[in-house]
């Protein structure tokens, strides 16, 4: 019983991150609402983070914080020989990546606010229709200039 569950468990994180990535990816492409796209991006990115953290896991490992306080090098070696630490490298990478993700989200949200101020909507198709109406070939400036000359 527990053996089967162990097998499922062994791959379970991978299944979950695949599912989450697909959900997030789908939301990024298919959802018309801009906020939903950003939510999707967040899910997508966290799914990848989950993958990295899963990589770092070592069975029976503890958090990569040395367990002895500050007693010096010898103690450190002793501690290492007794304790298995999980892989710290993916953690560091993901710390960086989380920051990148939040920065991207912040920029995306700022863009969304600007878009809303300009078009009064967060739906992609509404915005698109509005832009078509405006005849994108002529920029604002060119149109004013033309009118000025006539």
């Amino acid at each position: 019983m527990s053996g089967i569950i162990e097998i499922i468990f062994a791959e379970f994180n991978y299944w979950i991150y695949v599912t989450l990535m697909m959900i997030g990816f789908y939301a990024m492409i298919a959802k018309k609402n801009l906020i939903k796209k950003v939510i999707g991006a967040n899910i997508f990115q966290t799914a990848i983070f989950l993958f990295y953290i899963s990589l770092a896991e070592v069975k029976g490992g503890t958090a990569p914080i040395l367990l002895h306080g500050h007693d010096g090098a010898d103690a450190a070696h002793k501690a290492v020989s007794e304790v298995i630490y999980v892989n710290p490298l993916p953690h560091v990478l993901i710390l960086t990546a989380i920051v990148v993700a939040v920065s991207t989200t912040a920029v995306a949200l700022a863009l969304i606010i600007k878009i809303y101020e300009e078009y009064g909507s967060l739906e992609e198709d509404v915005i698109l229709a509005y832009r078509r109406q405006l005849q994108p070939e002529f920029s604002e400036h060119a149109r004013q200039k033309q009118e000025g000359e006539q």
């Binding site: 991006a41 863009l111 300009e118």
Partner: protein, 503 residues
């Protein structure tokens, strides 16, 4: 030990750290006086140009430079590696950055008068990001700098035309996030199977596990991610809007550099992280790339013909030109590779010049629709001449840079036995003629009664200098393609394809 010695040892890291420092000190400089910002940027970019030139010179004369950040030996810490490939690309970045920097003073004053300080801050950070991506020898570090460059690019594009710029930027952001996530995932896969993040270390570890499915998946994710970043044809949807609606200076910078650095990254990942035999023989990824590139060349050119906004036309033309670079890379023979790599330089020069011209015309007249260009040849003779030279170069007239790379690409295609690509290259030259000639016609054959009263009204000197310089270089490297080819590209192509070893 003099101060100079102190610097020379650390040039690799300083090329990235100096624009970075300058970038976040810009708000403080601008706080003193906003006019100082431009001089600040000029100073920085000039220093960066000197440093990158020195780096490339060192690489050519005494071989690859390794710089261990934090003093940790490579697999432990992060390493900067400058070989011919990224020394070459860094020099391009620094040069184009300087040119656009000079140009920006007037255009930003007019287009974004309220946002001078953040513009320059972000400008420098973009240079930082691109430099960092190019120079690094560690794939996760690459990802971090990729994100710096992406975020700054979103910001620059969003500064453009009201509304349109922001929407373009948002679309780019979504696509860029997908691309970056794919790349991050690919990095994770490679890390999972090798345990290393260092490119050289990884290249040593990978060949024994090439039959591992994870490695193939990583390659696939990288290729898709970078294809989005460079705007390769079916994944190009973000590019035209982004190039069209960004402020003039930003368009020139992004068009001149972003996709080129993306292409660099693709080359780096294909040939330095993986090995040529994996990319060429085992997965045939190179061949797939050539077909996608050929498609991009044709479709990009055809779509460019349909445009009436000059910047949008140039954007579609970029899509096709990126195809040239990747075609050369994908051909995976020495001649084709040289053509592709040379086209990185050539396309930066030409496309940057063209976007600067488009910006200068917009600056003076406010016109971007090329049907309204009548008589511009009289009004802005120097600007339009630069346009002529750069466009002829795009077309591939001999004596200009465009010819040399097309020549190599076509020869490379013949060598690879792919005659169809020769035809693609030649046909796209014809299509280039079609869409550029419409502009020429309008510029030089304005109807006489309209031309008579047009007065000469040239763009300001600070805009003309970089444009003219780029045009001159277009011709210079057309006639003296020998220098980049002999000193950089030939040994480089051999090394990338595993035929020779870098000095």
């Amino acid at each position: 030990m003099t101060g100079f010695d102190l610097i020379t040892d650390h040039l690799p890291v300083l090329t990235v750290v100096i624009p970075l420092m300058a970038g976040f000190l810009t708000p403080i400089v601008g706080w003193i006086d906003r006019k100082l910002c431009w001089y600040w940027v000029m100073l920085t970019m000039f220093a960066v140009l000197l440093m990158t030139s020195s780096n490339l010179y060192t690489v050519i004369t005494s071989g690859t430079i390794h710089y261990h950040l934090g003093g940790w030996t490579p697999p432990i810490g992060i390493e900067y590696v400058i070989d011919l490939l990224n020394g070459f690309v860094c020099l391009i970045i620094a040069f184009i950055g300087l040119m656009v920097g000079i140009y920006s003073i007037e255009s930003i004053k007019k287009e974004l008068p309220n946002k001078i300080i953040p513009f320059y801050s972000i400008f420098l950070l973009l240079i930082t990001g691109l430099m960092g991506m190019t120079i690094t020898g560690d794939i996760f570090n690459f990802y971090v700098f990729l994100e710096i460059s992406s975020l700054t690019a979103y910001a620059l594009i969003a500064m453009g035309d009201r509304g349109d710029g922001v929407v373009a930027s948002f679309n780019y952001l979504i696509m860029g996030t997908v691309a970056a996530s794919f790349i991050l995932l690919g990095i994770g896969y490679l890390y999972a199977v090798t345990g290393s993040l260092n490119i050289a270390d990884m290249q040593g570890l990978l060949p024994s596990i090439y039959d591992n499915k994870v490695v193939l998946a990583a390659l696939a994710f990288f290729m898709v991610g970078f294809s989005i970043k460079v705007g390769l044809f079916p994944l190009h949807a973000w590019l035209p809007d982004a190039y069209t609606h960004a402020p003039s200076a930003a368009s020139a910078l992004i068009a001149g550099l972003m996709t080129k650095v993306g292409a660099y990254a693709m080359i780096r990942f294909m040939f330095s992280v993986f090995t040529p035999e994996f990319v060429i023989d085992m997965t045939r990824m190179a061949e797939i790339l050539t077909w996608a590139a050929a498609l991009a060349i044709v479709v990009g050119s055809v779509l460019a013909i349909a445009q009436s906004d000059i910047k949008r036309m140039l954007a579609y033309s970029s899509i096709s030109q990126i195809g040239y670079i990747l075609l050369g890379v994908g051909l995976a023979n020495v001649i084709g590779m040289q053509g592709g790599l040379l086209h990185i330089l050539n396309h930066s020069l030409m496309k940057c010049a063209l976007f600067l011209v488009a910006g200068a015309i917009f600056y003076r007249t406010g016109i971007r629709n090329l049907h309204q260009f009548q008589g511009l040849g009289k009004k802005m003779p120097v600007t339009t001449t630069v346009f002529l030279i750069a466009a002829l170069s795009m077309i591939g007239v001999p004596g200009t840079v465009g010819f040399t790379s097309k020549w190599y690409l076509a020869l490379g295609s013949i060598n690879a036995g792919q005659w169809i690509f020769v035809i693609v290259i030649l046909v796209s030259s014809l299509l280039n003629i079609v869409y550029f000639w419409r502009v020429f016609d309008n510029i030089w054959f304005g109807h006489p009664h309209e031309v008579e009263h047009i007065k000469r009204d040239e763009a300001p000197l600070s805009m003309l200098i970089p444009m003219v310089l780029l045009a001159v270089l277009c011709i210079f490297f057309g006639l003296f393609a020998y220098y980049p080819l002999h000193y950089v590209l030939e040994p480089l192509s051999n090394a990338l394809l595993g035929i020779g070893v870098l000095p």
